[in-house]
Amino acid sequence: MMYLLDILLISLTAALINNFVLYYFVGICPFVGVSRKVEMAFGMGCAVTFVISIAALISWSITTMVLIPGAPVSSFIAGFFLPEQAAAKIDLTVLSYIVYIFAIASSVQFVEMYVRKYFPMLYGSFGVFLPLITTNCAILFACLTIMSHVTGVDNPADAWDLGRAIALAFFGGVGFTIAIVIMSGIREELELADIPEPFQGAAITLIIGGILAIAFMGFTGVDSGIRDALMPPVEKQVSTIISPQADILSNPSTFAALDILSHVRRP
């Protein structure tokens, strides 16, 4: 029950509350570039969701098996050269960025070849987007978030397992798809609108993105509401949601801002 609730909260947070595009600003380039037609946007979203799940699987496995101190593979190999205690301490997390980007690039290549051979229909619908995805920040961002939840925890029991990692990545991709499809729907209508010349193209897309982000801010607090409603009161302090107030929000001025907002909202 606890585990399922955790998965539910991670998914909800990744897809809606802290939407990858509108909250963390990753994957903005396709958001501005590819969001002209709804079908194209949906194809792009599916491709990203597909690749991001595979990348999460690979990066979680590499992180747990090879990179963290005391991981099975690295300590086994180092055991040939070093005494056992030193081998268990080998920490390869400094290599993580290079390993991740390599894993993403090669998995995109593999996925492209596999899909082209066995699912030609699928390849026709989103194959053209696959090479573009290598440099999509959303994929690397998901890998990094998973890494921070595997290595950056004080208590080893809090480290994420594979299920949580995949849930975060898959629903992050779903959130990306939701955002880019909404955006492309708006942009199709926008072609009939009379926009001042300097604002045509990227400028008006960004402003609309801002308005969408305001709409998505309405989801703030849904996660804690669900947690309070479903979880027994004793276990309330347990939380493994993606960085509740981390990253951009750790700026003190933003903290003050959130504080003000919470006062405004209170009846």
């Binding site: 600003f25 400028a203 402003i207 801002a257 003000i260």
Partner: protein
């Protein structure tokens, strides 16, 4: 290579005429994510500048060895190496700042500005030209980041670099330091830059 651009030309082009953010719409993720204050924005600009300079120099040195089908992989791995250096450096000497920037430092790896510069300039030009191009582009990126950060920080908190610049009576526009403010500010500034460009083009046409 008679008509190849001089180092100084590349340097000047990068700052305004080919500004990476406003003109080429590259590297939008960090542009939106870290510009809620001047300090994170400038740290980000410095990190990107460092990585861009080092990657451009290395790529330019090995440009004759590059195979066409492998070049993107080589670019990415070179960039990832320098990003790791920058990330460890920040974590060692500016721990608080490295916490604030969080995942956006490693995300420099997939920043399109650097890959674009490696592809367009460094893999075709000599070391000096590539280095001056990198410095010009980095300055342009820093300029864009700080212009957005200045607008957002002043309107959102009434402060610049943490020092109060607007009177205390200023009602802080909280939305400006939250995610939506980033989109709206960049959209409006981009519109303004386009507008100035259009006016200039009209004047020179007359």
């Amino acid at each position: 290579m008679a008509d190849s651009p001089t180092p100084f030309e590349r340097f000047v082009q990068g700052i305004l005429p080919e500004n990476p953010v406003y003109r080429q719409l590259l590297g939008l993720c960090p542009t939106l994510a870290v510009t809620n204050g001047m300090k994170p924005a400038l740290t980000m600009a410095c990190s990107v500048g460092f990585v861009l300079l080092c990657a451009n120099i290395v790529i330019s040195l090995i440009r004759n060895l590059l195979k066409p089908h492998l070049r993107i992989v080589i670019f990415t791995l070179t960039i990832a190496t320098f990003v790791t250096i920058a990330d460890r450096f920040l974590a060692a000497y500016f721990f608080q700042m490295s916490k604030t920037l969080g995942p956006y430092i490693p995300l420099i790896i997939v920043n399109c500005i650097i890959i674009c510069r490696c592809e367009v300039c460094a893999s075709k030009q000599g070391v000096v030209t590539a280095a001056s191009d990198a410095i010009g582009q980095a300055l342009g990126f820093g300029l864009a980041l700080s212009s957005i950060a200045a607008v957002r920080e002043i309107l959102g908190t009434g402060m610049l670099f943490g020092i109060r610049v607007l009177p205390d009576a200023w009602p802080d526009w909280v939305i400006m330091v939250l995610p939506p403010g980033a989109f709206i500010t960049l959209g409006l500034l981009l519109g303004c830059v386009n507008w100035i460009g259009i006016l200039k083009a009209r004047r020179s046409a007359k």
